[in-house]
Symmetry: C2
Subunit: 322 residues, 2 copies
């Protein structure tokens, strides 16, 4: 059987060319980073549990991608540039097939973003994957949750709801063609972190976050932290390619409270509309204006005629959602 050290060496240690960002990588008590002069360090951590965040039999390549993608998405939501990450793994067994696939998916995405695996821990136990990620950004440029201002436009990157639709199909709540399911499932298993857009929005957007638990709940964090309210035009929300073929009720439900979208939700003043569109173009990411930040507390859902929609929806919560 593979020992812990063999396992790390075989699957996770990469040979990098000398990189001045790092003084020491995997294999000592700590990794050593040389922070760039005058830059702030953005740090985020996410823990993914088998049976909760992914199916126990999930394809390991896709899982490796997704675990890093959700962390990169947190950097994107701050406008930070990826630098490095650590990986802690609890595994029921050292399964070579699983490890080869997982490390392949993980390290391919890491390489794409020049984000280096600098350390970690492996242990035996129920499958659990915890990544802590580090990025850099100039001081005072971070896209924080508490920076939305009354009058700001609210924007969304890409599209919403296809990941939730794929889940509904797995749960047999909806029926999709094989082709539709494949397309939606890709959104669920292989989210695209919006790193380029996040960096392009520095100095343009006010507040931002990434949508992981559903738009309503996540936008709610911006409203709460910024002490503002908002109206959104529900039927102008950009539904995913597959979801837009579904009935209005499903479209509304899954765009508003789907979860697992990993799109950016951000606010920007009206005077920055052109700059937002330029940032979208520069990062090759579509953006859609979905509403307005308002002084009155609370979130108002409006239909295409600006009439209030009454919907009972809630955001996903790990301890109160069954």
């Amino acid at each position: 059987m593979l020992s812990e050290f063999d396992l790390i060496k075989q699957y996770f240690v990469q040979n990098y060319a000398s990189d001045p960002r790092f003084a020491l990588g995997i294999g000592d008590d700590c990794a050593l980073i040389n922070p760039s002069k005058g830059m702030q360090l953005a740090i985020s951590t996410d823990m993914l549990v088998s049976g909760r965040h992914f199916f126990p039999d999930a394809d390991p390549v896709g899982l490796g991608h997704k675990c890093l993608a959700v962390n990169l998405s947190d950097l994107a939501a701050m406008g930070a540039k990826p630098l490095a990450f650590t990986l802690a793994l609890s595994l029921p067994e050292a399964n070579p097939t699983w490890l080869a696939g997982f490390s392949q998916g993980l390290l391919a995405l890491a390489q794409e973003h020049n984000c280096r695996l600098i350390g970690g821990d492996t242990t035996k136990g129920p499958l659990n994957i915890c990544i802590t990620i580090f990025g850099e950004l100039p001081p005072e440029t971070a896209l924080r949750r508490d920076a939305a201002q009354v009058g700001d436009d609210i924007w969304i990157s890409g599209s919403l709801g296809d990941a939730r639709l794929a889940l509904a199909c797995y749960w047999q709540e909806v029926t999709l063609s094989a082709e539709q399911h494949e397309l939606a499932a890709k959104r669920m298993h292989q989210p695209t972190p919006r790193i380029k857009l996040g960096i392009a929005l520095r100095g343009v957007a006010h507040a931002a976050l990434d949508i992981s638990d559903g738009l309503i709940g996540d936008l709610g964090h911006i409203l709460e932290c910024s002490k503002v309210g908002a109206s959104i035009l529900v039927d102008s929300l950009p539904a995913g390619l597959v979801l837009r073929q579904q009935v209005q009720e499903k479209r509304r439900e899954y765009t508003l409270a789907g979860g697992d979208d990993y799109e950016l939700c951000f606010t920007a003043p009206l005077c920055q509309r052109e700059a937002v569109l330029a940032a979208a173009l520069a990062s090759d990411t579509s953006v859609t204006r979905i509403g307005t930040i308002e002084a009155e507390a609370g979130l108002r859902l409006l239909d295409i005629n600006n009439k209030p929609i009454n919907m009972q929806l809630r955001s996903f919560d790990h301890f109160t959602t069954p």
Copy 2:
């Protein structure tokens, strides 16, 4: 039931006085650190699994202490000064008694080392605790594993084996008095990270690491990384207060391959003997000289008469140890 956000707010968010080291703490997509000018950042991550690293019914206060202590111990082993940490928690349920105890033990030790909890993640799942810790140190001062030199003395901080003895008592392999067991169990449940000693050894020691899987295995990493060998005087190993009352065979076994010691093992040239003792004095930590780094590969175990001891021992490994 407590929501994820209530849980974090209630148990883990502390009110700190304004601290220039941090631009943003818990509650956004990322935390933001302002690295000190010209300093390197040391990073380490450890994952602790219920039933593997601790008993499922472990006292939560002690567990909170231990989870952070093992991470601080990694910083100590590099000579880094603690700065901050993130906490990812997978919990079977949001149990207020457990959370209150755990956060109390964790944050008390954090405060003692001026090490701030800056972010994290909570999710439902089998109990799993993953901490990633950050420390600072001047460039070129890190105590690395690959820096031992032929002729160096080998040193150990504190004492070894009492944690392993406590475990043996839990497993009913040995019998201890209630008082003895309490003393030994404290070494198992509440290790003391040797932060001050680590910092004091900058520029004095060559190589260092912390002993978590047993002296033989961990010293083996120094030998392998530094491409050297060593001899150690087994009967001069500093046994724990309780272990030293046991028979020689147990003393040898548990000091050499006990595990869970969280003492520093370091090497330093002969000309630094006085400086090592001064560092020990300054950090109020006892140190013991246990052997010598040699050119010949391998680890030689010698008795009090410098005669080889033949023992079958091995280090703990998560995937090959039953």
